[in-house]
């Protein structure tokens, strides 16, 4: 992880960290904090705790998002302090609906300069965001909304597994990972397990991201904690609730970053600190998908 972040994430980059509630790249985000990257434009449909940490740690110049909150709990206090009071520094924001931001990824992944949608008419959003315009249908004459393409410098996505080349498989919520990866110039994939190529190739319909767009594969179990990985672990709700308390006080948030990020060398140390009992509590029972037959065609 250290090498991947060090090689592929640069100061000033536009960095997409995707995963909709599922597979949030916490380990990668914390490594970016640890390496003290600066002036990043951070992009994510739902900023969540991860962006609260990255903003509080001073990595971000700008936040591009769709919905800003601690899901099921409340506010992101560090982001709010930055937006409402410029504390500890100014933070530029650029906001969309989820669908609008998704369409920006989709346009970029598809080599299109814009994507048409029905999403913004009658709202104040285009007033505060120059990436929202309108386009006229050449067949019906109808006016549609349109967003511009977003080409991030880096996309970081988590997944259950990949082979060493980067052919990456996800089940459960696949979010916007594929679009983000195809939209980006550089891609880091962080997985629970690196598996032999044969495991991936036994089920090619499961592959979300092909090797050819992937620059680095990092194997780091539990790297999405405190979010969840379908079939591997559940969301750690206690951590989401605790975050609300921790972040109400900037000093306590500082202490959290010192203890859990700067004070630890890597994710292995994080897991040791988290403890086996917490991990045991979060492991679900098994619920297996049945196998399907692709057939051996010779």
């Amino acid at each position: 992880m250290r090498d991947a972040v060090s090689r592929f994430v640069r100061d000033g980059d536009t960095v997409v960290l995707e995963g909709f509630t599922h597979l949030i790249p916490f380990a990668a985000g914390q490594e970016i904090i640890r390496q003290r990257r600066r002036d990043l434009a951070l992009v994510r449909l739902t900023p969540d705790l991860l962006m609260d940490q990255m903003v509080a740690a001073g990595t971000a110049r700008k936040l591009v998002f769709g919905w800003l909150g601690n899901p099921g709990v409340g506010s992101l206090h560090a982001v709010r302090r930055a937006v409402e009071r410029g504390y500890p520094g100014p933070l530029e924001i650029e906001e969309y609906s989820h669908f609008g931001l998704l369409c920006r990824y989709k346009a970029a992944a598809s080599g299109l300069p814009f994507f048409p949608l029905r999403g913004y008419r009658g709202t104040d959003l285009p007033r505060v965001n120059p990436h929202l315009k309108q386009v006229t249908c050449p067949f019906t004459g109808e006016t549609l909304d349109a967003v511009s393409a977003l080409h991030p410098d880096v996309a970081i996505v988590n997944a259950q597994r990949a082979d060493a080349h980067g052919n990456t498989q996800i089940w459960g919520l696949v979010g916007a990972q594929r679009e983000a990866a195809f939209a980006a110039r550089r891609v880091i994939v962080v997985v629970e397990e690196v598996v032999p190529e044969d495991v991936v190739r036994a089920d090619p319909n499961r592959t979300q991201i092909p090797s050819v767009v992937v620059d680095a594969v990092v194997e780091e179990p539990w790297s999405a904690h405190p979010s969840f990985v379908q079939g591997y672990y559940d969301r750690d709700n206690a951590a989401y609730l605790a975050w609300d308390r921790i972040t109400r006080d900037p000093a306590e948030l500082e202490r959290y970053l010192d203890e859990w990020v700067h004070g630890l060398p890597d994710r292995t140390a994080y897991l040791a600190r988290l403890g086996e009992a917490t991990r045991d509590r979060l492991r679900p029972g098994p619920r297996l998908a049945g196998p399907v037959d692709y057939g051996d065609y010779r």
């Binding site: 909709f20 599922h22 800003l68 409402e84 709202t123 959003l125 594929r178 969301r235």
Partner: protein, 260 residues
């Protein structure tokens, strides 16, 4: 039915009223929290064949526990389909396959337009920075019917929004149609005090019923404009004991969403 230890709380009345908006067979875009409880209740009562869609990408969810977010893993295990998020919006919502969407709001005006972006007039330096749009603008624009669920007070039911995040009936009358909005617009607002419809011509919010235990005076007090009241104003139907038992013992036993 009101009063006594088994009496429904206002949150329970809200959830029950919301569940009545779900018709059997509906495709429902579900938000987390009260809408989720409402749909679970509808599934058990009068709409066993409604389909739960979550913007996280899930169609036909069958959660065996109460989901804590719209992306809870319990929504995936046992679902009928998981799609990329983009296709959920493109095909189910924008493609016109969604019958009903539930929305919340920090501010709402008389035409059902919503603000979930900022409180205070300065967008760049807001008094309170709210979560923003999420899925709401697209749901409001594309679903056949939308229902807003919100606790009611004067700071929330405002004469003028600080920011319009999500369009309802726009400026009323035919203004929503005129902008070419494909969906059907808001049909109901459900608060902890009453249930509202919208006038078929002016599209102004109109009080349809007051919850048991609340008064018309309280409702007016909690509304920031001169509220229209239906000529056939009645009392909101309250859930019976069997429904309350379902809500309290099966659907939200830990009172996560039914605190209030």
């Amino acid at each position: 039915m009101t009063g006594g230890p088994g009496a429904p709380t206002r949150a329970e009345i809200m959830v029950f009223a919301a569940s009545r908006e779900v018709r059997d067979g509906d495709c429902v875009f579900v938000g987390v929290g009260l809408p989720n409880l409402a749909v679970q209740l509808a599934l058990r009562l009068h709409a066993p064949r409604c389909h739960l869609i979550y913007e996280s990408g899930v169609f036909g969810a069958r959660p065996v526990r109460l989901p804590i977010s719209i992306g809870d893993p319990c929504l995936v295990s046992g679902a009928a389909q998981v799609l990329p998020m983009a296709e959920t919006f493109l095909y189910f919502l924008q493609g016109g396959r969604t019958d009903l969407g539930f929305l919340g709001a920090a501010q709402i005006d008389r035409y059902g337009n919503l603000n979930t972006t900022v409180v205070g007039r300065g967008y760049d330096h807001p008094k309170v920075r709210l979560p923003g749009a999420g899925g709401a603008p697209d749901i409001a624009l594309n679903a056949r019917r939308t229902v807003v669920i919100a606790r009611q007070d004067r700071r929330k039911f405002v004469e003028r929004l600080d920011f319009r995040t999500t369009v309802g009936w726009a400026e009323g009358g035919t203004s929503r149609e005129a902008m070419g909005a494909p969906g059907g617009g808001p049909t109901r607002v459900i608060t902890d005090l009453g249930v509202y419809g919208f006038d078929a011509e002016t599209r102004e919010m109109t009080l349809a019923s007051v919850h048991p235990g609340a008064t018309l005076e309280q409702v007016r007090e909690a509304t920031g404009w001169d509220l229209k009241v239906s000529s056939s104003l009645g009392a909101t139907e309250a859930p019976d004991q069997a429904m309350l038992r379902l809500l309290r013992e099966e659907l939200d036993p830990d009172r996560i969403y039914l605190k209030g």
